[in-house]
C-alpha cells in the first residue's frame, strides 16, 4: 500500500512554478476541434497523468506540447519562457523528451549506440566508441540497469528496451519526460522495475507525464491527474483526493439522453421475456496477454453490452468471439456445436461478424466504392468464382444505402470520400449483408455525429428484436444501458461482472468499472492480474 505522506511530500508546495504551463490550447482538425481551450500544467518532481478515453485529446495535447502539431490558439510556457516548438527536435532541445508506447529504437544497433544516436561523442572526426560506451554505462547505472552497453538492443526484453529509451530521453538533461503508455506491453515485474526508475527520476526533480490505461498503475505512481473528455478539460485533481469511481465518471462523462424513444424497452424485455435459447456459450475462453479466461453466454436475440475502460479487455474479448484473434484456452459452442474459430473467415461462414473499432485500418477498404465495400464480406464468403450477380449487388447497395441512410447515396462513390459516420454505416451494411446470427459491434458509434449514432442504435435494437444476437461495445455507458439486455463489465483484462440490465444504473456500472468496490481508499492492488 502506498503511503499518502510520500505523495504529499512530492506535491509542489503553493507558489511553486510549473515547468510546463499550457493555457487555452485549441487545435482544429478539418471538421473537428481536437482540443478546445485546454489548460495543463506540470510541476518539477511530480508524476502527472493525462486521463481520458479514446478521442479525449490526450495524444493531441502531448503532440501540441512536443511540437508535432501546431496550436491554433493558446500559449505554451516552458520554464517561464513562452515557446512555440517547430517540431519534436526543438521540444527536445528545450528539455522535453518523449518515450512512446512502441519502442522507437533500432534493434540492430547496440544499447550504447541507441542511447546516444545522433549525439555520439566525437574524436578525430569519427565516433569515439569508448567514450560512447562509458557515457551509456553512466546513464544505465543511473537507472540501476545492469546491462552491457555494447550488447545489441534487440537481444533484450521489451521492458529493458523501454528503459533504454528512457535512458536515451534523460541523456539530454530532460526537465520533462513524457511516457506514453509505457506499460502496455510489460508484465508486473517489468512494471515494478519501470516504476522504480520513474520514482528516482521524479525524486531528482524531473517532471513526468505518465499516460496509462491501467487505473491501478495510475493510483500507484501518480501525484496528480488531468482529465480530458471530447477535447475539453474536465479538471485537474490530486490523485489521492479523487476516488476511482469519480475519476472514471469524469473520464466517461454523462451525456444527456437524446434517444428516449428506445428508452426503457430493452429493460422491459430483459425482465419479462424468458431466458432466450443460447446462441453462443464460451467457457474459459481466453488468450494470453489479451484477456483472462472468461465464461459468457449469448442468447438468441440478446444484446450484450460490454462495459469497461479502454484497455480493459473489452475489444480483446470481442476479437476472440469474432475469430479475429485465436483463443488459446477454453471452448466455444456456437448454436450447440463445439466450434474453434481460427480466422475471421470461419467466423463469417458461421454468420458471426465482428465490426472493428478501427474503422479506417481494419474496417473499410477506402479505395473501393461503397457498393464494393458493402458486398465484400458476402462475396469473400461465396468465393471469387461465384460473383454476386450485378443486379443483386446493385440491390444490396441500394437497399442498405436507403435503410442506413448512407450519404452521398451513390454506390459508386469511393468510401475514402465519405464522412466517418457514413463510413461506419457502410461497414455495418457489409456485415448485415452476410445476414449474421451474431453481430459484434466494437465502438460503432465512436467519432460519429449524434444523428448517425441514433440511427445505429435504433438499428441494433431492431436487429435484436428480429432474433439477431448482438455484442455491443461502447465507451458511453448510457448507450450500453439503453441497448443491452445484459451488461458484462471488464477491468484489467478480466471479465468481472455479468449482470441483467434490470434497474442497472450508470453509477453502479461506474463502480464496477472502477474497482468493484466503492470504498474511499484507492487500493494499490498488485499489478500481476494479467499474467
Amino acid at each position: 500500500m502506498t503511503d499518502t505522506r510520500e505523495v504529499r511530500e512530492h506535491f509542489p508546495a503553493d507558489g511553486a512554478t510549473p515547468v510546463v504551463e499550457m493555457t487555452g490550447i485549441s487545435i482544429l482538425f478539418p471538421g473537428v476541434k481536437a482540443l478546445d481551450d485546454v489548460s495543463f500544467r506540470l510541476f518539477p518532481g511530480e508524476v502527472h497523468s493525462l486521463m481520458g478515453e479514446n478521442g479525449a485529446g490526450k495524444s493531441t495535447l502531448i503532440k501540441a506540447l512536443t511540437g508535432v502539431y501546431p496550436i491554433d490558439s493558446g500559449t505554451i510556457v516552458v520554464d517561464g519562457q513562452p515557446v512555440s516548438f517547430t517540431g519534436p527536435a526543438a521540444a527536445q532541445a528545450a528539455g522535453i523528451s518523449t518515450v512512446y508506447q512502441e519502442v522507437n529504437l533500432l534493434p540492430n544497433l547496440s544499447v550504447a549506440e541507441n542511447i546516444l544516436l545522433g549525439r555520439e561523442p566525437r574524436r578525430f572526426g569519427g565516433i569515439d566508441g569508448r567514450a560512447m560506451r562509458r557515457r551509456a554505462a553512466e546513464l544505465l547505472e543511473g537507472l540501476n540497469l545492469d546491462i552491457d552497453p555494447g550488447s545489441l538492443l534487440g537481444s533484450h526484453s521489451l521492458a529493458i528496451q523501454q528503459l533504454v529509451a528512457i535512458a536515451r530521453a534523460i541523456n539530454v538533461d530532460s526537465k520533462v519526460l513524457i511516457l506514453d503508455e509505457p506499460t502496455s506491453s510489460l508484465d508486473a515485474d517489468e512494471v515494478a522495475e519501470l516504476f522504480r526508475v520513474i520514482r528516482s527520476l521524479r525524486d531528482s526533480g524531473v517532471a513526468i507525464l505518465f499516460v496509462s490505461h491501467f487505473l491501478d498503475q495510475i493510483y500507484e505512481i501518480t501525484n496528480r491527474l488531468t482529465v480530458l473528455r471530447n477535447g475539453r478539460l474536465v479538471g485537474e485533481y490530486l490523485t489521492t483526493e479523487l476516488l476511482r469511481i469519480d475519476l472514471v465518471q469524469k473520464m466517461i462523462g454523462k451525456e444527456l439522453t437524446t434517444l428516449d424513444e428506445i428508452g426503457e424497452r430493452a429493460h422491459a424485455d430483459a425482465v419479462t421475456a424468458d431466458r432466450p435459447a443460447d446462441y453462443a456459450r464460451a467457457e474459459g475462453l481466453g488468450r494470453k496477454g489479451a484477456i483472462e479466461p472468461f465464461d459468457l453466454v449469448i442468447g438468441e436475440g440478446e444484446v450484450i453490452g460490454l462495459a469497461g475502460l479502454l484497455g480493459s479487455g473489452r475489444t480483446e474479448l470481442a476479437r476472440i468471439l469474432g475469430g479475429i484473434d485465436r483463443a488459446d484456452s477454453g471452448q466455444l459452442d456456437i448454436a450447440g456445436a463445439r466450434t474453434r474459430l481460427r480466422s475471421p473467415r470461419q467466423a463469417i461462414s458461421r454468420r458471426i461478424a465482428y465490426s472493428s473499432e478501427n474503422r479506417r485500418s481494419e474496417g473499410i477498404i477506402d479505395d473501393l466504392t461503397v457498393r464494393e465495400n458493402i458486398v465484400l464480406a458476402l462475396q469473400a464468403d461465396r468465393g471469387w468464382f461465384r460473383p454476386i450477380p450485378k443486379k443483386r449487388r446493385e440491390e444490396l447497395a441500394q437497399s442498405y444505402i436507403q435503410t442506413l441512410n448512407i450519404r452521398p447515396a451513390n454506390p459508386d462513390a469511393l468510401v475514402r470520400n465519405l464522412s466517418g459516420g457514413n463510413q461506419q454505416k457502410v461497414l455495418l451494411a457489409r456485415w448485415l449483408a452476410i445476414a449474421p446470427r451474431l453481430l459484434i459491434l466494437d465502438e460503432p458509434t465512436r467519432g460519429i455525429d449524434i444523428g448517425a449514432k441514433a440511427e445505429i442504435q435504433k438499428l441494433v435494437y431492431t436487429l435484436a428484436e428480429n432474433g439477431m444476437s448482438v455484442v455491443f461495445i461502447s465507451a458511453e455507458l448510457e448507450e450500453v444501458l439503453r441497448l443491452s439486455h445484459r451488461v458484462v463489465v471488464l477491468r484489467d483484462r478480466r471479465l468481472v461482472a455479468d449482470l441483467e440490465n434490470d434497474g442497472l444504473t450508470v453509477d453502479a456500472l461506474l463502480a464496477l468499472i472502477a474497482d468493484g468496490s466503492v470504498d474511499d481508499e484507492a487500493p494499490l492492488a498488485p499489478l500481476g492480474e494479467s499474467s
Binding site: I324, S343, P344, R345, A347, I348, S349, Y354, S356, S361, E362, G363, I364, I365, D366, D367, L368, E372, L376, A377, Q379, A380, D381, R382, G383, W384, F385, R386, P387, I388, R430
Partner: protein, 350 residues
C-alpha cells in the same frame, strides 16, 4: 479548355495516351509510311504490326505483373521464368526424334508451361505462406532462375529447327502475327477472369488494406498464390514466344531485363506500385508506349549509344506528368476555370 477535356486530362490514362500519340506522330513525320499496313499472302505487314508483335512478350508479362502489383507485390523473376520456359521447350524438342511434328511441339510447350506454373507456385509460397517480402522472394528466382535454365540447356544455346514451334514467334494466325493473337487472348482471359468474377475486386481489396480484407473473410493466401502463378504462366508464354522468335533458347539473354519493362508498362498504365486499383487497359497503353519508343529510336535514327538515355527521358516525362504534383496543378486549373465559367454565367444571367 472545356470541362469534358479537363475531365479527360485528369484521367489516369490521359498522359500515357498523349505520349503514345506524340511518339506515333514523330514516327509519321520521320517515316511517312509508318501507319500504312499492307496485306501480303493474307498476312498483315507494317510498322504498327511490328510494334504489336515485338511488344507482345512484354505486354503478356505486364498483364500478369499488373495483378501482382495490385496485391502490393512485385515479381522480379519473370525474365528468368521466361528463360527457363524457353529452355525446357527447346531441350524437349532437341531431345525428340522429330522436332518438326506438331505433337512434339505441343508436348514441349505444355512442359514449359507446367514448369512456369510450378515456379509461380514457388513464388506464391514464399510470399503468402512464408511471408517474405515479394521483392526479396522473387529476387531468389530472378537470380537463381537463369542458373536453372543453364542446367536445363547444359550451358549451351539450344538452336532448334521446328517449323510449328517457330510459328509461335513469327507465324500468322487470321492475318495477325501469332504473338499478337496470343497477347490479345491472354488480355481477354485476364480481363474476363478478374472483372467478370469477383477476383479483381478481392485482389484490389487485399492490395488496398490487407488487414481489413482479412477481417472481411477474404482469403489473401489463395489470391496471392493465384496472381503469382498467373504471372509466372504469362512469363512462361512470353518466354516461348521470345525463344521461338530466335529459334534458340539462350539462358543468359532470353527475357533479360524484361521484368523492368513489364513493371514500367504497369506503372505507365496508371497502376500504383502501392497496390490497389489496377487497369489492364492502362497496362496495354503502357506496353505500347514502351515498344513504340524502342521503334522510334530506330526510325528517327537515334544513335544506339543514347538509346537508353532517350528511353529514360520519355519515361521520366510520363512519370512527371502522372505525378500527384501535376494532378494537383491540373486540379487547381480546373477549379479556376470552373470558377471563371460560373462567374461568366452569373454575369450573363444578371
Amino acid at each position: 479548355m472545356n470541362p469534358t477535356l479537363l475531365r479527360a486530362v485528369s484521367s489516369r490514362l490521359f498522359w500515357p495516351i498523349v505520349m503514345l500519340v506524340i511518339l506515333v506522330a514523330i514516327n509519321v513525320v520521320a517515316f511517312p509510311d509508318f501507319l500504312s499496313i499492307t496485306v501480303t499472302d493474307g498476312h498483315l505487314f507494317g510498322s504498327v504490326i511490328d510494334i504489336l508483335r515485338n511488344g507482345a512478350p512484354t505486354f503478356i508479362i505486364a498483364i500478369g505483373m499488373t495483378l501482382v502489383i495490385a496485391t502490393r507485390g512485385i515479381d522480379l523473376s519473370v525474365g528468368a521464368v521466361a528463360a527457363i520456359s524457353g529452355a525446357v521447350a527447346c531441350s524437349i524438342l532437341l531431345g525428340s526424334p522429330d522436332p518438326g511434328a506438331v505433337g512434339t511441339v505441343i508436348v514441349a510447350v505444355a512442359a514449359a508451361l507446367v514448369t512456369s506454373l510450378v515456379l509461380g507456385l514457388w513464388n506464391g509460397f514464399l510470399v503468402s505462406v512464408i511471408g517474405i517480402q515479394p521483392i526479396i522472394a522473387t529476387l531468389v528466382l530472378m537470380t537463381a532462375g537463369r542458373g536453372v535454365a543453364m542446367l536445363i540447356t547444359e550451358g549451351q544455346i539450344l538452336t532448334v529447327d521446328s517449323a510449328p514451334f517457330k510459328s509461335l514467334g513469327s507465324g500468322f494466325l487470321l492475318g495477325m502475327p501469332v504473338a499478337v493473337v496470343i497477347g490479345a487472348a491472354i488480355f481477354v482471359v485476364a480481363a474476363l477472369l478478374t472483372r467478370r468474377t469477383a477476383l479483381g475486386m478481392l485482389i484490389e481489396s487485399v492490395g488496398i488494406n490487407p488487414e481489413a480484407s482479412r477481417q472481411a473473410g477474404v482469403r489473401a493466401r489463395v489470391l496471392l498464390f493465384a496472381v503469382y502463378t498467373f504471372c509466372a504462366l504469362s512469363a512462361g508464354i512470353a518466354g516461348l514466344i521470345l525463344t521461338a522468335n530466335q529459334t534458340a533458347a539462350d539462358s543468359n539473354n532470353t527475357g533479360l531485363f524484361i521484368e523492368l519493362d513489364a513493371i514500367l508498362a504497369v506503372v505507365i498504365g496508371g497502376t500504383s506500385l502501392a497496390g490497389g486499383r489496377y487497369s489492364l487497359a492502362g497496362t496495354l497503353v503502357g506496353a505500347l508506349v514502351i515498344q513504340t519508343l524502342v521503334t522510334t529510336v530506330y526510325t528517327v535514327g537515334i544513335p544506339p549509344i543514347v538509346t537508353m538515355v532517350f528511353k529514360a527521358a520519355v519515361v521520366t516525362a510520363v512519370c512527371l506528368l502522372q505525378s500527384p504534383a501535376t494532378s494537383a496543378a491540373v486540379g487547381r486549373l480546373r477549379y479556376r476555370i470552373s470558377a471563371r465559367t460560373s462567374r461568366v454565367k452569373e454575369a450573363a444571367a444578371s
